[in-house]
């Protein structure tokens, strides 16, 4: 049989068959995401039409609704107002509503940014230090320490949430940016240490030894020789930490309410009049998922390492 050619060189027929199945799978798996993006450009009525509309007149209503608070007004009141100055005001008025102010979305989104960047920087910095020490020095109980660091990732977040809640209440860290930054830094530390240790193991010791013979101290050699060499690994690790903080939900929903709440617990609460405002939720989802998708494409070469804490390298 022709198909029983080797694994090393699949026949062109079997290649084509494999490619076809994979393409079909890819299309199916991307439908939910594309559907959400499409919904964000629908108007409220076409989002709840049945059968679902694949072709529709694009509208920015979802995005306008996402960023504003509105209230319904009578036609007489609307007629008494001066003509709308902007296109979004006009859009809102055509739905018999007026804009009463900006929504909370921008604040929640920037909370996600602040907490994400802050914790990413801290965990990568601390992780790089620890990873270097684990990679280069004889540390007593090294394997136990490394395993301890990894095991902290196995805790169900809810199990430690109550003590952290009480602790934060005492320290005044509850519902603050600093509290969330510290928390996410710690959650990401295990990943940062394990990943960066792998990357640092790959940098030859001879580099910094040569620098130290030239008169650098150990610290100088680390900051001026090793860190620049590990830049790719550091960038990949940083993106992984950023994605985690960006996506985290359990701690955010339990420990924050008004001040430091991030976007994931907020997006589900976007509710329109008389039911869920799907275009607005779609718009929030799209804006929230976009950075992660871009990061994933940048990361694709290091993906495997990141998701297995460095256990599998290509």
């Amino acid at each position: 049989m022709d198909t029983s050619r080797s694994y090393l060189e699949p026949s062109s027929f079997s290649k084509k068959l494999a490619a076809t199945i994979i393409i079909v799978y890819t299309v199916i798996t991307l439908i939910p995401i594309s559907w959400m993006v499409m919904t964000s450009f629908k108007n409220v009525n076409s989002a709840i039409s049945y059968p679902p509309e694949v072709l529709f007149e694009p509208s920015l209503e979802g995005y306008v609704n996402l960023f504003t608070n509105r209230s319904r007004q009578s036609q007489e009141y609307l007629d008494s107002l001066p003509a709308p100055e902007t296109w979004y005001e006009e859009l809102v008025r055509s739905r018999e509503m007026v804009i009463t102010g900006p929504s909370k979305f921008l604040g929640r989104y920037s909370n996600s940014m602040i907490i994400g960047f802050g914790s990413t920087f801290a965990s990568v910095f601390l992780g790089a230090l620890a990873a270097y020490a684990f990679s280069r020095f004889r540390v007593p109980l090294k394997d136990d320490l490394l395993f301890f660091i990894l095991s902290t990732r196995m805790f169900p977040p809810i199990a430690v949430a109550v003590p952290i809640f009480i602790m934060y209440r005492k320290l005044g860290l509850g519902d603050t940016h600093l509290g969330m930054i510290i928390l996410y830094t710690v959650v990401n530390l295990s990943l940062a240490v394990w990943l960066l240790k792998g990357f640092m193991d790959e940098i030859p010791k001879e580099y910094e030894e040569a620098a130290m013979i030239d008169g650098y101290s150990r610290l100088q050699a680390f900051f001026k020789v090793v860190l620049p060499q590990a830049m790719t690994g550091i960038a990949a690790t940083a993106i992984f930490c950023m994605i985690f903080s960006w996506n985290e939900y359990a701690f955010a929903v339990l420990l924050t309410q008004f001040n430091a709440q991030t976007a994931p617990p907020f997006i589900p609460t976007i509710i329109g009049e008389g039911g869920l405002d799907w275009p607005a939720i779609g718009a929030g989802t799209t804006l929230f998922l976009l950075p992660v998708m871009i990061f994933t494409i940048i990361l694709r070469k290091h993906l495997l390492r990141g998701i297995t804490f460095g256990a599998v390298r290509k």
């Binding site: 198909t3 050619r5 080797s6 694994y7 090393l8 290649k15 494999a18 490619a19 199945i21 994979i22 799978y25 798996t29 939910p32 559907w35 959400m36 049945y50 679902p52 601390l126 230090l129 620890a130 270097y132 020490a133 280069r136 020095f137 540390v139 301890f148 660091i149 196995m154 805790f155 169900p156 977040p157 809810i158 430690v160 949430a161 109550v162 003590p163 602790m167 510290i182 928390l183 830094t185 710690v186 530390l189 101290s217 100088q220 680390f222 996506n247 939900y249 994931p264 589900p268 939720i281 998922l289 990061f295 994933t296 494409i297 694709r300 495997l304 998701i307 297995t308 256990a311 290509k314």
Partner: protein, 299 residues
Amino acid sequence: MSVKKKFKGLSDKAVAWLFIGPSVFLLLAINIYPLIYAIRMSFTNFYANKIGREPQFVGLKNYIKVLNKEAIWEKMQVTANFMFWTLLLQAVIGLGLALLLNRKFKGNELLTTLIVLPMMLSPAVVGVFWTYLYNPQVGLFNYVINFFYDFGSFDMIGSSELAPWSIVIVDTWMWTPFTMLICLAGLRSVPNYLYEAAEVDRASKWQQFIYITLPSVLPFLLLALLFRGIENFKMFDMVVELTSGGPGSATELASINLKREAFEKWKTGYSSAFAVILFVTIFGFGNVYVKVMNKIKER
């Protein structure tokens, strides 16, 4: 060793502690201390919302209560059922996709990246937008299913028979790329000479698959399932947003129940005992699994 002392600056030992110290301190303060705190609370009748009331030591009462409560075993069953189906589906589909992707056809790098996208998204947000896809009146999922076979109106989230499947489907959609990616690494790690030798011996393609491919991928697949197993045992965010444990308690996983006891009923002592039991379970199973995995690897 003695050579290194000639370099200027701090000694290596001092640098090592300086570098590791802050990380270990933070982990102790924000992870281990809360855990010990939780263990201590699990022996008391503490209610976190009642400030000023001294908690009393109650011994093992909370643990006995948790283990004797029938509802807890129901939650564990829901969790076990969720884990069984998600791991099975993700193992089979993930391995299948990896085998296909390994036939290095043109464009497979790009397709791999696209397939991986769902698993990078925020589980809570994924849960939210699937409630739209599952909507019984206007959902795309229901439309597509009815397009192929007309079941009439059905509600994936609202019906207690279908709801457990609704979370299995979303988790499988999201995380199959994870097993796929790891299996793919396993397939690529098989040295070519094994297949070359097998061909010289005239082994059929099927025999090559059973005796070379499968044993080499197995440790990778088991590793992927370990990661997924731990994550799905802790599963909270996606399911909370999708079904919030309902209808009734059809999809109330252990973590969701724990959150209700701890943050809605504020039974801190009781829920801490439950948390400790969950933690010991995950740790115990994890350790046994790793031992079995290492035995398989050695063979």
